[in-house]
Amino acid sequence: MEMSNDFVPKNTIIEKMNPNTKLLAIISLGISTLIFPNPALGLGVLIFLFVVSCIAKIQKTFLKVVLGFGIPITVMLLFIQGLYSPKNKTIIADLGFAQMGLEGVLYALKIVVTLLVFLGAFLLMNKTTHISNLVAALTDLGLPNKAGYLVLATLNVVPQMQKRMSVIRQSQEARGVETQGGLFNRIKAYIPLLGPVILSSLIDMQERGMTLETRGFGINGVRRTTYVKATRSPMDKPLNVILILFLLIVLILTLLMKFGIL
């Protein structure tokens, strides 16, 4: 599992947008795809997201993640839903051991595009936004200080823990614990590591809490400020309006279709 928020500044217009706009985009595009009755809209949104990823100069990562996740899950869901969905009525293919139904296939495709729209939009937001920028933007919206702390601290603490693990491994080696060698040796070596890593991290963290407290973590009733200012661009306002309108239009269209008017 890759554990890094590898934000690389590329100085694109997407990067300069307010993180809240990007969050709104995830919600608006994602929910639109989710409620719209057929997969076509989602497919369109996906193509749009790909274009955005090109503007943000991260098209390679975008394709890698979206296809890397999209292909296996499509196959899997086509298998599960296409062949075994109880909704299946219209048979489009007979594979011998099972029959493929149109309803299941459409349902599977719908789930896949919805997931991919969420995934893709989220990925775009994530890869074009520094986390402290995101937290600053959310603080502007009124995110509680403690919630912001949890996200930021987790991002910073996890790499520290991984570093600590390697120091502890060294000091165990110096006590005669063999940590190299085959897979079995490594499993055996990791178990005594777990204890000290966890215990010493817990104790360190208690001390770190002292620092927070003496620097006003617990102060109530103050509107907090951040050093990092959330990025803003002139496109934020119009985009917000467009995104909300888009969601509304999709909602109305969906309702109309549901009631058989369209």
């Binding site: 080696e173 110096a174 006590r175």
Partner: protein, 274 residues
């Protein structure tokens, strides 16, 4: 015990060069102190002596055997390393278990382990704390606990990394006793320290490191007499020495006794001159 370091260089994976061609020989039982500013390469050097780090170039020989021939765990029988931060090295639920862990791993006999526990726990001052959880000890006691777990394994070479850090007067006295005891048992002890008073009181031979090089390696008197070089390495001699130097005494004393001798000598000389 003989440690040979031949033209040792080490470059970290981050491309930072931590050691640049260090050559040293340490032999016998005379304890050696390594001093120098933070980041001078002291810990990096010492980590080569039990194979925690492997030379980028050059060679490290322990009793004539190349360090690269064994793993760190194998070397731990011969070379004991007490880490700077005790929390990294302790992981069992009582001091006794910590003490017994290494020797059990090595296959030491049960009776011998028992004897050593008694001997070592008395030496490091934890005889009454054997059933305490190491994390419930004070920071000083924790440090002595890590010293204890390494001594339990009875290695021929012991490496201390900043043992004086945060120690009070009693702790310093106990450390001194431990270093003497190791010497009496014929062990070689190499210590990294910032505390010049401690160094002056306990070590004859000093190695001064600066930017990855061992720039001085000599008897303590000769090392502390090189005031200019030491200044460049950001090392200040112990208080007694500084007073002697400040008052222009000809000798470089480290102990009260030596100070008085130097003082009286200088006084005689001046009286004769008058």
């Amino acid at each position: 015990m003989k440690v040979e370091i031949k033209d040792l260089s080490y470059v970290y994976p981050s491309q930072d060069c931590a050691l640049r061609g260090v050559s040293l020989v340490m032999e016998g039982t005379t304890p050696v102190a390594i001093v120098g500013q933070n980041g001078a390469g002291k810990t990096t050097l010492v980590k080569h002596l039990n194979g925690l780090l492997r030379p980028t170039s050059g060679q490290v020989l322990i009793d004539g055997v190349d360090i690269n021939t064994h793993t760190t765990a194998q070397w731990s029988r011969k070379v004991g390393y007490v880490f700077q931060n005790p929390d990294d090295q302790l992981f069992l639920e009582s001091v006794r278990k910590e003490f017994e862990f290494g020797p059990k791993h090595m296959g030491m006999r049960k009776e011998e382990i028992g004897e050593r526990v008694e001997y070592v726990s008395n030496l490091v001052g934890l005889a009454d704390q054997l059933d305490t959880h190491p994390f419930d000890l004070t920071s000083t006691q924790k440090r002595f606990c890590t010293i204890g777990i390494i001594m339990m394994m009875n290695p021929d070479l012991i490496l201390f990394d900043e043992p004086t850090c945060g120690q009070d007067a009693q702790g310093i006295r106990r450390l001194r006793k431990i270093i003497q005891e190791l010497r009496n048992q014929g062990k070689l002890c190499i210590t990294i320290s910032h505390d010049m008073r401690f160094v002056a009181e306990n070590f004859k031979r000093i190695i001064v490191m600066k930017k990855g090089e061992a720039i001085l390696d000599d008897d303590i008197e000769k090392v502390f007499a090189r005031t200019e070089t030491l200044k460049q390495c950001f090392i200040t001699p112990p208080p007694i020495t500084r007073v002697a130097q400040g008052a222009d005494l000809k000798k470089t004393p480290f102990t009260g006794k030596a100070f008085m001798e130097a003082f009286e000598e200088e006084r005689e000389r001046r009286i004769c001159q008058m």
